[in-house]
C-alpha cells in the first residue's frame, strides 16, 4: 500500500460537496476571494 492516501477515503457529509476534492476547491476559492478583497481594500484606501 502506498504512503499517499486515496483522495477521497471518507464521505464529507456536506450538502453539495460529496468529494473531499470539492471541499478543498471551495476552501481554496474562499482563500482567493479573501486575497482579492484585501487587494481591493488596499487599492481603495492607499
Amino acid at each position: 500500500m502506498s504512503l499517499l492516501p486515496p483522495a477521497d477515503d471518507e464521505a464529507t457529509g456536506l450538502p453539495g460537496l460529496r468529494r473531499w476534492r470539492s471541499v478543498y476547491l471551495v476552501v481554496a476559492g474562499i482563500f482567493v476571494t479573501w486575497v482579492m478583497l484585501l487587494t481591493v481594500l488596499t487599492k481603495l484606501y492607499s
Binding site: 474562499i30 482563500f31 479573501w34 488596499t42
Partner: protein
C-alpha cells in the same frame, strides 16, 4: 480595574479551568489521556485556532495594526493552502498509523534516531515557545496593572498546569472551546465600544479613510524585494511552509486534530481554520488600525509603556523626556487640526483641499513619530535593558483608558484565556512527546497504561515548571509575536523537510535524512546570524536544504531494501 473587572476576570478563568478538570475527571487510560475523547469537528476547529492564537496574538497584533498597518495579515496567506495539504496527505497517514505523536511516524518511516531528532527539535523550539507564551501577557499586563511580574507568571502558569495535568488532552480541548468563545465575545465587544468612542459624525467609512490616509490599510504588497518582511510572496510561500510545519508537524497542533472521532471530523476541523484564519487575523489588525484612528482625536501617550517612561524620568532623563513629550503633544495637536480639516474637505466633496490637509497631517504625523523614536532612544540610553518597543502596550492602554468596567475585566480575561489555551496545548504536546517518543521508546519500553499516564502527568508538570522558569528569566526586546514566529521559523523548516521527505521521497533512508537535517539546522543557525532577510524565508531554506541534502546523501548510501520500504508503508 475595579471589583467588577476582577470578578469577571477570575470568574471566567477559574470557572473554565475548574469545569475542564471536573468534566474530564474520568480519563484514566493512555489513549484517552493523550488523545482525548471522540471530538466533534467544531471543537477541533476551535481548539486548533485557540492553540495558535495565544495572548501574544491579542496583545501584539493590534499593536502591529496601530504601528505598521494591517500588512501583517499576509503572514497568514499560506495557512489555508497548508491546511488543505495537511488534510489531504498528512492527516490520513497519521490516523491510519494510529500514532500518538507526529514523530512516531518518523520512527516507522525511517528509524529511531530520526524520530528522536524530530521530537528533540520540537521539544527545544516548543519548550522555548512555551516560556514566551506565558511571559508575553505577564510582562505587559503586570506592567500596566502594577502587578508583580513573577507573581503573574507563577499564578497563571500554575492554573494551566493544574487542569492540563489533571485532564490531559480532553481537558485542553474542552477548555479551549470555552476560552476561544470568551475571546470572540471580548474582541467583538472591544470593536463596537471602539466605534462608539470615535467622534460624533465619524462613521466607519471616515475611520477607514483616515486609517488609509496614514497607510494603515495596505493589506497586500506584491513587491519582490526580499528585505521586506511581509509581502504576498513571503506570506504565500514562507507562510505556507511555516503553516505546513506548524499545523502538520508540531505536536501541539497534531495532537488537537488527532482527537477527532473520525477522519472527517479532523479534516473539517482543519478546513474550519483554513476558512476563518485570515478573516480573524484581519479583524484583529483592523482593530489596531482603528485604535490608531481613535488616537487621532484623543492624545495618546508619547510612549505607551508608561511605567518604563516614568521610571526613566525618575532616573535622570526627566528633562529630555518631558521636552520630547511637549514636542509630541504640539505635533499631535497640529495633526488633529489637519485631520479634522481633511475630513471636512472630504465631506464637502473637495478632493484637492482634502489631499492638501492629508499631506499636512502626514507631515505632522512624521514629527510625532520622530518624537516617539527619540523617546525610545532616550529610554534605551537610560536603561539598556529597557524594552524600547511599546507596540505591545497600545491595545491594553486603550482598553484600560477608555473601555467601561466589566468590559475591561472581560478583555483581561481574553488575554489570559488566550495565554492559557495555547500554553495548555503546548504543555500537553510537550508531555506527550517526552513520554511517547523518549520515555516509552528509550527508557521504559514495557509498562502499564497507568504507569505511562502517571509519567505523562509528571512530564507535563515538569515542562510547565520549565516554562515558568524560562518566563521568569527571559527579557525580550522584539515585538512578542515576532519573537515567537522567529523561533518557529528557525526550527520549523528542517522539521518540515524531514516530514516531506518521509511522505514524498520514498527511496531516501533514515541515515541520509538524519544527517541532512542536522547539517540543514546548522546552516539555518549560521544564516540567521549573518543575513538580514525576512525570517519567514528560513522555513523554505531549512526545508529545501534538508530535502536536497537528504537526496544527495542517499546517492552515496545504500538504498532502502524492499523489506525496509515495506516497513515504511502502511
Amino acid at each position: 480595574m475595579n471589583a467588577l473587572d476582577y470578578l469577571v476576570l477570575l470568574g471566567v478563568l477559574v470557572g473554565i479551568a475548574a469545569y475542564g478538570m471536573w468534566a474530564t475527571r474520568g480519563h484514566r487510560d493512555l489513549r484517552s489521556y493523550l488523545k482525548g475523547g471522540n471530538t466533534h469537528w467544531l471543537t477541533i476547529g476551535l481548539s486548533v485556532m485557540a492553540t495558535q492564537a495565544s495572548a501574544i496574538t491579542f496583545l501584539s497584533t493590534p499593536g502591529q495594526g496601530y504601528e505598521s498597518g494591517i500588512g501583517f495579515v499576509q503572514n497568514y496567506f499560506g495557512a489555508p493552502l497548508a491546511l488543505i495539504l495537511i488534510a489531504a496527505v498528512f492527516l490520513p497517514i497519521y490516523r491510519r498509523l494510529n500514532v500518538y505523536t507526529a514523530y512516531e511516524y518518523l520512527g516507522k518511516r525511517f528509524d529511531p534516531k530520526t524520530r528522536l531528532l524530530g521530537a528533540g527539535l520540537f521539544l527545544v523550539q516548543r519548550g522555548l515557545g512555551a516560556g514566551i507564551t506565558i511571559y508575553a501577557p505577564a510582562i505587559v499586563l503586570s506592567t500596566v496593572m502594577g502587578w508583580r511580574l513573577d507573581a503573574t507568571i507563577v499564578c497563571s502558569g500554575l492554573l494551566v498546569i493544574a487542569y492540563t495535568v489533571s485532564g490531559g488532552s480532553a481537558a485542553v480541548n474542552l477548555t479551549q472551546k470555552y476560552q476561544i468563545g470568551v475571546i470572540f465575545v471580548g474582541m467583538i465587544a472591544a470593536f463596537f465600544v471602539l466605534l462608539s468612542k470615535l467622534p460624533a459624525g465619524l462613521g466607519l467609512g471616515d475611520a477607514l479613510a483616515v486609517a488609509g490616509g496614514f497607510h494603515k490599510l495596505e493589506a497586500v504588497d506584491f513587491s519582490l524585494n526580499p528585505d521586506r518582511r511581509y509581502t504576498v510572496w513571503t506570506g504565500v510561500l514562507g507562510g505556507m511552509f511555516l503553516a505546513l510545519s506548524y499545523f502538520g508537524t508540531d505536536q501541539s497542533q497534531v495532537q488537537r486534530y488527532l482527537t477527532g472521532a473520525s477522519l472527517r471530523e479532523s479534516r473539517l476541523g482543519l478546513m474550519f481554520n483554513a476558512v476563518f484564519k485570515i478573516p480573524m487575523q484581519f479583524f484583529i489588525l483592523l482593530l489596531g488600525a482603528l485604535v490608531f484612528v481613535f488616537y487621532q482625536f484623543e492624545r495618546p501617550p508619547v510612549f505607551f509603556n508608561q511605567a518604563a517612561w516614568h521610571q526613566a524620568a525618575a532616573n535622570g532623563a526627566g528633562d529630555k523626556l518631558r521636552t520630547l513629550e511637549a514636542d509630541f503633544n504640539t505635533a499631535h495637536a497640529e495633526k488633529q487640526r489637519h485631520v479634522n480639516a481633511w475630513l471636512a474637505a472630504r465631506h464637502a466633496g473637495d478632493p484637492a483641499a482634502a489631499e492638501t490637509e492629508r499631506a499636512a497631517a502626514l507631515a505632522a504625523n512624521a514629527r510625532t513619530e520622530a518624537a516617539r523614536a527619540e523617546t525610545r532612544t532616550v529610554l534605551k540610553a537610560n536603561d539598556p535593558k529597557a524594552l524600547a518597543n511599546d507596540s505591545d502596550y497600545v491595545f491594553v492602554t486603550f482598553i484600560l483608558g477608555y473601555l467601561p468596567h466589566g468590559v475591561i475585566g472581560l478583555l483581561m480575561a481574553v488575554f489570559f484565556a488566550a495565554a492559557f489555551s495555547s500554553k495548555a496545548g503546548e504543555l500537553n504536546a510537550l508531555g506527550s512527546t517526552t513520554v511517547v517518543d523518549f520515555y516509552r521508546h528509550v527508557v521504559k519500553r514495557a509498562a502499564s497504561d497507568a504507569h505511562y499516564v502517571t509519567a505523562s502527568k509528571w512530564f507535563t508538570a515538569v515542562w510547565g515548571f520549565f516554562a515558568i522558569g524560562f518566563a521568569l528569566f527571559c527579557n525580550l526586546a522584539e515585538n512578542l509575536i515576532q519573537a515567537t514566529n522567529i523561533i518557529g521559523s528557525i526550527f520549523y523548516g528542517v522539521v518540515l523537510g524531514l516530514f516531506l521527505v518521509a511522505f514524498f521521497v520514498k527511496w531516501v533512508s533514515g541515515t541520509a535524512v538524519f544527517w541532512a537535517a542536522v547539517v540543514s539546522q546548522l546552516l539555518v543557525f549560521v544564516l540567521y546570524a549573518t543575513l538580514s532577510i525576512s525570517y519567514l524565508w528560513y522555513n523554505i531554506i531549512g526545508c529545501a536544504a534538508c530535502m536536497l541534502l537528504s537526496i544527495i546523501l542517499q546517492m552515496f548510501l545504500p538504498r532502502m531494501t524492499p523489506v525496509d520500504t515495506d516497513k515504511a508503508t502502511v
